[in-house]
Structures are given as C-alpha cells and as structure tokens.
Subunit: 467 residues, 2 copies
Amino acid sequence: MTQVPKIAKELAKIVGRDRVFTNLEDRLCYAYDATFVEHLPDVVVKPASTEEVARILELAHREGIPIHPRGAGTGLSGGSVPLGGGIALVMTEMREIRKIHREDMLAVVAPGVVTAHLHRAAEACGLFYPPDPSSSEFCTIGGNVATGAGGPRGLKYGVTRDYVLGLEVVLADGSVIRTGGRTIKNATGYDLTRLFTGSEGTLGVITEIIVRLLPLPSTVRTLLAVFKDLAQAGEAVTAILTSGIVPRTLEIMDQISIALVEKFSPCGLPLDAAAVLLIETDGQKEQAEREAEEIHTLLTRQGAEVTLAKNPEEADKLWKARRAVSPAIAKIKPTKISEDVTVPRSQIPTMIRRLGEIRQKYNIDLVIFGHAGDGNLHPNIACDRRDQGEMRRVEQAIAEILNAALELGGTLSGEHGIGVLKAPFLLSDLGSGGWIAMKKIKQSLDPKGILNPGKIFIERSQELVKT
Amino acid sequence: MTQVPKIAKELAKIVGRDRVFTNLEDRLCYAYDATFVEHLPDVVVKPASTEEVARILELAHREGIPIHPRGAGTGLSGGSVPLGGGIALVMTEMREIRKIHREDMLAVVAPGVVTAHLHRAAEACGLFYPPDPSSSEFCTIGGNVATGAGGPRGLKYGVTRDYVLGLEVVLADGSVIRTGGRTIKNATGYDLTRLFTGSEGTLGVITEIIVRLLPLPSTVRTLLAVFKDLAQAGEAVTAILTSGIVPRTLEIMDQISIALVEKFSPCGLPLDAAAVLLIETDGQKEQAEREAEEIHTLLTRQGAEVTLAKNPEEADKLWKARRAVSPAIAKIKPTKISEDVTVPRSQIPTMIRRLGEIRQKYNIDLVIFGHAGDGNLHPNIACDRRDQGEMRRVEQAIAEILNAALELGGTLSGEHGIGVLKAPFLLSDLGSGGWIAMKKIKQSLDPKGILNPGKIFIERSQELVKT
C-alpha cells in the first residue's frame, strides 16, 4: 500500500483518530495469530459499528486495498494474518451482547464478544451456548463463526455453524446484508448464513451474529478411562458411540501426551498407559448419572481403568491432564504447530497408528490428542522454527499427515479452517471441480479480491487448475 | 424448445430410448407438483447414474436448454414444476441406499431414495434418520435436500440440512463435484454442502447424499393436550421449551382444524377446544417417560386436559387427529394451498391471532396447524381455483400472511422453500443486498441460467432491484 498516510487519514475520518494505528509497534500487535505465520499490516483500524465497517470497506473497495478482518488472533491456521499488507480490521471493539432472548432461546451478539462471556451470559439465564473452542476465554464469537470453530462438546452438540441462525455481513463493496434471522427454521433462498460461516473473512465482514441457545443441562458427569492398549481405546470409542448414548465430550490423549503432562504438570496418570479417554455425560440429573454409569460399565468391560468423578472438584482434576497437554507441548520447543485433521470416526485407531509411524519416520516431536468421538484429532508438533533441517522434516510430516487423513476418507480441517497453512493442500481435498466452484463464489462476491487475500485459495493451487 | 426431436434423440443416446419421453401423456405426469402450479416440459428424461446426469447437463448447457430436476413431485412451492419447458429431469431411477455405516453412523444414498425407506433401513441397524416430512412415504431424499425439508421432529433434531454431511453434485456445465464428506466435522473451505442444500435445483443436480445418523431412541411417549384458550396454549409452549426439556415434537392445531377433523374423521376432540397440542418425548426409556410425566404435570398446571398414551396403539390414536387435518382440508374445496411461515417461537400466539384476523377479513377457509415448538406454522387455505373472486381474496390473504410473519421477525419459509409461489415476496424478506448476493452466486455457478429457471428469483423482483 503506497499511500498509507492518505488512507490512514480517511480511515480516521470514519472511526476517529484514536482507533487508527500506523506505528510499527501497534502494527506488530496485529501481524500474527496463534501460528508462526506473520505479516505486518500497513494500518490497523478498530471500527465500533456496522456503519463504520461499511464505510471502511467502501474505501478499501474504491482504492483496492487488501483488508483482513480479525478477532482475538487465536486462530491456528494463519487465517487472520494480514498477508496482503493493507488494513488489519480489528473487530474487538464491537463486543456487546445485544440480547439474550429467553423465550426465543437465542442471543444477538457483536462479533468481538469473547466466547466465554457469551457462555456465562447464557448460563445466567438458564440457557446454554454449547460451542467451546479451547481458547474460549480469549477468542471471539466473530472469529468462531469465521473459522467454523468447534470444541470438545461438538460430539453431542455440534460446532459453531450448527448454532448460527443469522448474520449481518458487510460485503466487499461496503453493502450491508442480513442472512437468516431469529427463526429456528429458515428455507428462504440460499443458506448464506452457512456460506459465510467458515468463510474465513474472504467473503465479507461479520458485524452481528444471532445464535441459537439450548436449555442448560443441569448435571455434568466426568469419567477418565486409562487403557494399556491403543486398539482397545479405539474399540471403546466405537462401543460407546453405538451404545445409544451420546456423551457430551469424548477426548483422547496418546501415550506421548500422557508422558509430557506427567513431566511438566503431574496428574498421576500411569506412564505405561497407551491412551486415556476423558468423557462427559450431561443432561438432567438422572439421565447424566445413568449414562455415566453405563459408560463406566462399558469401559471397564473393554479393559480400562475408569475413574468417575464424584463432584465438580474431582471432575476438574480429571480435566487437568487434558488441559495441561497444550502448555506442556509449548515447553518442549519454541514452535508449536497444531493440526486439525478429521477422519470418519471408525478410522480413529488407524489414523493414530499412521501418526505414530509418521512420528518415527521423520523423528519429530508429535503429540496426539483431540476429539475422538467425532473423528477430529489435533496432532501437535513441537519444533524450532530456527532449525531449518527440523522444519523441513516437519513440513514433510505435515504433508504426510494430511494425505493420510484424506486417504482414510477424512478432511484437512475439522474446526480450525484452511487459512494459509492448509491452503496448499486444498486442491487435493476438494478436487479441481470443488476448488473452482468455491473460487467462482469468491469472485462473484469479491471481484476485486480485497477480502483477506492469500487465504484458502493460494496461487499455487490456482496454477494447478488452469482451465 | 424448438428442436425437441433432435434433443430427445441425443438424450436417448445417453440414457437409452426407454428413459426418454416426449408423448403428451408422459409429459403431463411431470408437469406439476403438490401445488396448483403446472407447466409442461418438452421432454422427460430419467437418468440412472451420475455419469448420465453429467452428460445430460453438458448437452443442456451446450444447447441452452432449461433443465428442471425433480424427485417425487411432493413439493409445496412449485419448485420442481418445469416452468421453462425444456427438460424435466426425473431423479427417481437413482434410488439405491448405497451404504449404511454403523460405526461411522452415516448413510450414503442416491437422490431418488424415498425418505421412509431410509428411515426403515437406518432403524434396522439401530440407527435413526430424524427428518420426517409429512410426505415421507412418497418424497425423495434428493427433494428433501433440494428444498431443505423439515418435519415434526425438527424441534429436537433439526431439519434435513442438519443431517447432510456431503453431496455429489453435477454443476450446470456437466462437471461433477463432491462437497463435504464422511466426517462429522468439516471446516475445509466454503460450506458448499449447506449452500446446495435448499438451493431448489437452481445451482446443480444432486446425485449422491451422505447423511449423518443418530442412535435410535428406544422409547417414544406421546401426549395430547386440549386447551380452552389459545393464549394458554401459547404460554404452554413457552413453558415447555424453557423447562429444560426438548420434546421431539410439539405440534399445534387450531379450533378450525379441530372442527374440520371432527367433521370428516371424528377423533373425539371437544369442539369447544381453542387449540390442541400434540407432544412427543423420546430417548432411552426412563428419560422419555420422566420427560413425558413432567410435561403432563406442566400442561395440567397450564389449564389443559392432558392424555398420555399408554402404548403405541394409543399414541397412534392421538396422532390420528393431526394426520387427518390435511385430508380434511382437501375435502372442503378442490384447491389446497399450504403455507409455511416461520416466526420466532415467542411470536406463535401473536401469529395465530393475526391469522385469525386475516381469515375473517378476507372470508377465506383458513386452517392453522404446524410445528409450534420451532415457530413453523402451516396456515392452509382451502379454495377453488375456478372461482376468480375467491382466488383474488386468497392471493391478498397470502400476501398479508407473509407480511405478518416478516413483521414479527419471521421468514417466508421454514421447510418448503421459495419455488414459484413465494418468489414474488423474496425481496421483501431478504432486502435487495441479500437478494443480489444470492443472484450473484446463482450467476457464478449457472451463467447461462439453465438450471430450474423461474424459481426463487423472478423477473419482477429483478426489476425492483435494478442497481
């Protein structure tokens, strides 16, 4: 962007001088997300209303300036990094919970609302917003919608996209549209709500979100099951899921995760365990308890050592190990890459085996944990960006991980999105027809390509499908 | 279409002569759906494979021939009527249930599979496909996906769009793409699966569908509650929905529905009742029973007379009245128009009152029933197409019904789609920005406009938004 001072001045006319930033130190704060991808924006702007967003987009559209919407920057695929320079559009000033409607069981929120704030506001009304990305305490609802974020409770309750009823979106040219609405059902024209959900800021900027809420389950029960054998753990997952019970969470940690956790924040897990499952049931009291007991019996029969938490404090202890995995990985080496491959549930044991082979083949620090119940694993790699040799091995390993998922009928991403890091692999997942269809939609809504350029579709793929 | 014999010959080369029809009597069979909209296709073709569909679309694309995909023709908005003449593409030959995968809990089906056949195939494996349009015994899954069909169980389980994991779609130019896949979670690029779901054959032809299945609930309990006062019934709906219980169905019938049913197939409902609620709970035995009892108590407290079915036979009796409404309406007058307006749940009592006023104002036979739990009402109008004066009143009444829904924060359609009948109102629901965004997507994927022309977007709206 050549005319930064001129554009900054125009932006200041829209949002006020105190919400436009061009200093290096301010721009640095918005040059990253939770990956190692980095790029400086030319200018940072923090709008406070839909109208301001619309006027900023009009300006960017007129001048052909790349514009990168972002929430809290907790993304794990480089999706909000301002690769195209230009404007970083920081949505965190719009953080109002506009309405919690108890009778209609919905909430109307601005995109910058922190997810956990919505959780607590809904719970205060006896309602429940299930999607729970691990970064809930920091991430924003707008970012959750933009990436199609998930979380452990996805098994029973689905992910963000299953809760979005309606959106207000500012399109590339600054026009404001509304999709969906306040009704649970909607068959009026194309499902633009779901199209914008997960579009990673490449089709429009989300300025208001209507989410569906559920009755708050009164009781949650938590179990931890320790397996000496990985195949047994896989069979146990299938046994639970075909038993007629849908637990709210069904998390898995592999042997290396267990060893890491025990090294950095001991939870008393046996070091010879091959895998641990962490399971929650919920609902009204009797139901949650009966389901927990049934799962207890079933897991014991499958050869596991099972602990059923007697109270919330004990449950919290059982969660401690799962929560400690990510921080423990960060302690091994400075760079942490969090993958997000998803396979049909029956392929979880095979995928875990394949990951073990890849770990050995490339001699990398690969840790496996994730949402076993819905086939969504988060193989994490601890590495050091400065070590070129290691990074080459890591790159090859990631390509092999993604290919393994595709071979098993899976997909590149379950809840993190494509962003930059997975864009090179998109074509092999979608096939050229699907890739071209998505690109056509992108071009129809953003013909100048100003919205979050360099994401999802990258030039390399574009060359591959010259048609 | 001028060159019918030539095109028919080319079609016969693709699918064989016995699956191409040009006789008037054959074409008449595919000139209608379940509304009063009618238009003759020039030729009817019944493909048996994706490859045949692709070759037919290539031909239509090359020659610029309108092509209208259809399932069983049970649609209620004119969506599959071949308004553009050209080809009626009948998908009922592709009716294979290709796989029911018990561990992955999904089914892979061809679009012509009858919905009830999928229900039974899933149930035989202990699994459950919840969406249950009233036409389940006749309608096809392909049509359900194309319209975003719903059904009574939508309250607890959501509608068709909530179950579609992946699609195979033939695009306008004959290219074949796959969207989504066999994983429960998918955040890989744009959500094309949900975009094609509900696109009413205007973006592509669906040739394979992967749907998610659930564990089959072991028990269903059924209750019927009779109210002397409509407002009480509305309050009861809210009381149930905010109680923490999500019933599987929560159907409402108004006084006129009750009177009609009692006239044509008596079920013993009191004629002075203002409304009847039909409610089902389900799940594992204890849960379904406990929830049914809690609802019994709650409804009695709200002033209703409640019957709780003791066994499936009694439940079937309670359902009899609800099932008899549609046939009873058809007995009053020859033309039956089924509306599908949806409002935020809290607005159900207001919407029912507004409908009563509209009934009186236009002196029409308007009957109200539908899915109160999710705000989706089916005001049905019995009329006679040959009576021009009555039809004018009916048209005005429909416009007022749709406007009332929009005023209350609702939408034109909850589960029937826009088709032809609601197309004139689409602009007032979406606003010009939303309408234009949808039209741009349509144009990006079907630049020649051969796919199901005259549906969703009609010229009148187009003129209104000249930009």
